[in-house]
């Protein structure tokens, strides 16, 4: 008799597994198996479907590939510039919108979040026409007398990079704001009242109370932002096409070109993808360790 009864703990854990299994199976089949296949393929090389084993040749090749190195620099720049901007502006917007006195909060929140809900292709088209030689931005600059003739923003390497980064920040800042807003709403208003009674200014309470309490959320958004910055693809493809020259080409875009635009070399593409995977993994690990305050 004793053998046939299942303990309540076992029963609970079986229920848990039952709920988890479908998701795990899907994850393994749709994600882990292809990643493993890509890993295998990254040790092969050749044109199109005619692949041969080439050891670590692809991994050595990357560091001699001037286009890949350029795309790495570009992606690094996008990360270093846009991630802090997104997080700082996101926090500021969240704090502003969290003010209980503020009216029409819903409207502001929707407006700021809306870019994240617009399709990337559509926003690229909007930005292209905004920054076109005869576009809105140039019209304003010419009318104000700052420029004499329309400037081809997307035609020059430096300005094209800037427009791309503006678009990224514009698009994702509302998304980050949403996370901070939800974190702010979990902070007990009593803490602020107590600080006020003790004579703290609002600046002091922001730095001493709000920021420390937001820390776990900042860590989370930081990881997500960096991950998405390393994988920038849509902006590079849709806004600038990687140009002018290769000046805005992102790593993921170069990988795509290597597979589907230039003469295909899938093994090499896989090797570059693996490098991105490793970089993302390492950066995430460092952040988790650095952000972990538990003793």
């Amino acid at each position: 008799m004793k053998n046939r009864t299942i303990g309540i703990r076992q029963r609970q854990s079986m229920t848990g597994w039952a709920f988890l299994t479908p998701a795990v199976i899907l994850l393994v089949v749709m994600n882990f198996v292809p990643i493993f296949q890509a890993l295998l393929m990254s040790f092969q090389s050749g044109r199109g479907a005619q692949m041969k084993w080439s050891g670590i040749g692809n991994y050595l090749r990357m560091f001699k590939d001037s286009v890949f190195l350029q795309s790495m620099k570009n992606t690094g720049l996008y990360m270093v510039v846009t991630v802090p901007l997104m997080i700082i502006i996101g926090i500021l917007l969240a704090v502003l919108l969290n003010d209980p006195q503020l009216k029409l909060k819903g409207v502001y929140r929707t407006c700021i979040f809306l870019p994240a809900a617009v399709s990337l292709v559509a926003s690229a088209v909007i930005f292209r026409s905004l920054f076109a030689t005869d576009g809105f931005v140039n019209m304003v600059l010419v009318r104000l007398g700052i420029l004499k003739r329309g400037y081809n923003f997307l035609g020059h390497p430096a300005s094209a990079k800037i427009v791309l980064m503006i678009m990224r920040v514009w698009r994702w800042v509302g998304y980050q704001m949403l996370f901070f807003l939800s974190a702010l709403q979990n902070i007990d208003p009593g803490v602020y009242e107590a600080a006020k009674i003790d004579g703290a200014t609002s600046v002091q309470s922001f730095f001493r109370i709000t920021l420390p309490l937001l820390k776990p959320m900042i860590l989370y958004t930081l990881i997500m932002c960096i991950n998405s910055a390393i994988q920038v693809y849509d902006e590079s493809v849709n806004l600038t096409g990687g140009g002018p020259g290769n000046s805005t080409l992102a790593m993921a875009h170069h990988i795509y070109n290597t597979s589907f635009v230039n003469v295909p070399n899938f093994g090499y593409s896989c090797a570059m993808s693996m490098l991105i995977l490793v970089v993302v993994g390492v950066l995430t690990f460092i952040q988790m360790k650095a952000g972990d305050t538990r003793e």
């Binding site: 044109r47 590939d65 026409s129 600038t240 096409g241 020259g245 589907f260 635009v261 003469v263």
Partner: protein, 427 residues
């Protein structure tokens, strides 16, 4: 019990016959149907539908099953299907851009059918067109539309600057730039625009019968006089405001259609896009291209962006496919007459004998544009193509960008471009 048993037997028999007749019908279908991937409903798909109707007159029961896929989607699907060994996902017929077809044929040789011995009449097509899909003397493609390049100009703008279309006929690029600057100064219009340098460089290079490679397949960028001259001319055009660089196809066409740019230079398929601006009817005229001065083999004629049909190795009945194309795209003036208004000009030479080709076109100042195209296409030099052409073109365009915007040295940049392509080929 007995009744139930009988019913079961009868229904089993019925299902059996249904399945049998089903498979029989399906077998017949596969013989009579060709599946096709191609793009553009108004152009390529329209041409196929007309061809289907013509072929059906002698072959009742023949149908085409067309799936609209753009050029890039076709390339991606071909890549994924072939590399994952799922060749049965491929259709019978795929359309490719002329500049891409060799790259795809050499990357996935197992995905295409060799058509050399299947009796297609290649000798009735223009040789420079057939060369796009010929590898080591074997034919893998069926030539479709012409990419013969034309120079289009707004005659009203030229007039304002004191020129006529004749002032832009049989000229050199230096003369073009000189006159373009006058037009810009007097009217404020640039004469050309483009999505970066891509198409412009391709047109200019082909006009001299040159390429990024020599006859033996060796890279020929850094020491190629034609390419150096093209970089010099292009840089001068952009810096002088004669050529406007655009960042998207929408802006390229938009600025022509709204009258900002007073000219265009592209394959003759461009006619359809120009005619979208109906208010400009009668204001446009066509002529030949400027020529690269002092370059051996340079002409006033070139080609850009035609396309070629291929038959996949998944095709169960290549004889049917070849017969279909031979009777229509390689044998029917009726087909080419009917698709002519969409701007699809034949590379099948006999099509040009049709009266339709002589008719004046009101949009282009009543010029007989189609017979002009046919005349020009005879003078296009055969240029050297290679599987790595599109990589080489991208590298040269990057070099040009660096020369224009970062003030880099032409020679050093072209050497860097050659190194980039050599690196890619070393895989």
């Amino acid at each position: 019990m007995k009744k139930q048993f009988l019913a079961a037997v009868l229904s089993a028999a019925m299902i059996g016959t249904m399945m049998l007749s089903g498979t029989a019908a399906a077998a017949e279908d596969t013989v009579q149907t060709l599946t096709v991937w191609c793009w553009d409903p108004n152009y390529n798909i329209n041409a196929l539908r007309v061809a289907e109707r013509i072929y059906q007159q002698d072959h009742p029961g023949f149908t085409l099953d067309i799936l609209e896929r753009n050029a890039q989607e076709t390339i991606e699907k071909l890549a994924t299907s072939t590399t994952s060994g799922k060749m049965d996902e491929l259709p019978d017929v795929m359309l490719f851009d002329d500049t891409m077809v060799k790259q795809e044929l050499l990357s996935y040789p197992e995905a295409f059918t060799d058509l050399t011995d299947l009796g297609f009449n290649y000798d009735e097509f223009s040789p420079s067109k057939v060369a796009f899909s010929t590898i080591e003397g074997r034919n893998y493609g069926i030539p479709f539309d012409s990419g013969t390049a034309l120079a289009f100009y707004r005659t009203d703008v030229l007039e304002e600057a004191g020129y006529t279309i004749d002032d832009f006929t049989d000229i050199t690029w230096d003369e073009f730039i000189e006159k373009g600057k006058v037009v810009l100064e007097k009217t404020g219009h640039a004469l050309l625009n483009g999505m970066g340098a891509y198409n412009q460089v391709a047109i200019m290079l082909a006009s001299a019968g040159s390429g990024y490679f020599d006859e033996d397949g060796n890279l020929n960028i850094a020491d190629n006089k034609a390419i150096k001259e093209i970089v010099r001319i292009y840089t001068e055009m952009v810096n002088g405001g004669v050529y406007m660089e655009e960042t998207g196809w929408d802006m390229y066409l938009g600025n022509i259609n709204n009258g900002t740019v007073a000219g265009a230079m592209n394959g003759c398929w461009m006619m359809a896009s120009l005619q979208a601006a109906e208010d400009q009817s009668g204001l446009w005229a066509v002529t030949n291209l400027p020529k690269l001065d002092g370059i051996e083999g340079a002409t006033n004629y070139s080609s850009q962006g035609g396309s070629t049909w291929t038959i996949s190795s998944n095709c169960q009945n290549p004889e049917l496919a070849v017969d279909f194309f031979k009777s229509t795209f390689g044998g029917s003036t009726e087909l080419y007459d009917e698709i002519l208004p969409t701007g699809a000009v034949a590379t099948w030479l006999p099509a040009a004998d049709s009266e339709k080709y002589e008719e004046p076109v009101a949009f282009f100042s009543d010029q007989p544009v189609f017979s002009i195209i046919t005349q020009y296409s005879a003078d296009i030099p055969i240029f050297i193509t290679n599987a790595y052409d599109s990589s080489a073109r991208n590298a040269v365009v990057n070099a040009i960008t660096n020369v224009i915007y970062s003030g880099a040295e032409i020679d050093a940049e072209l050497q860097a471009a050659e190194d980039t392509v050599a690196f890619e080929m070393s895989a």
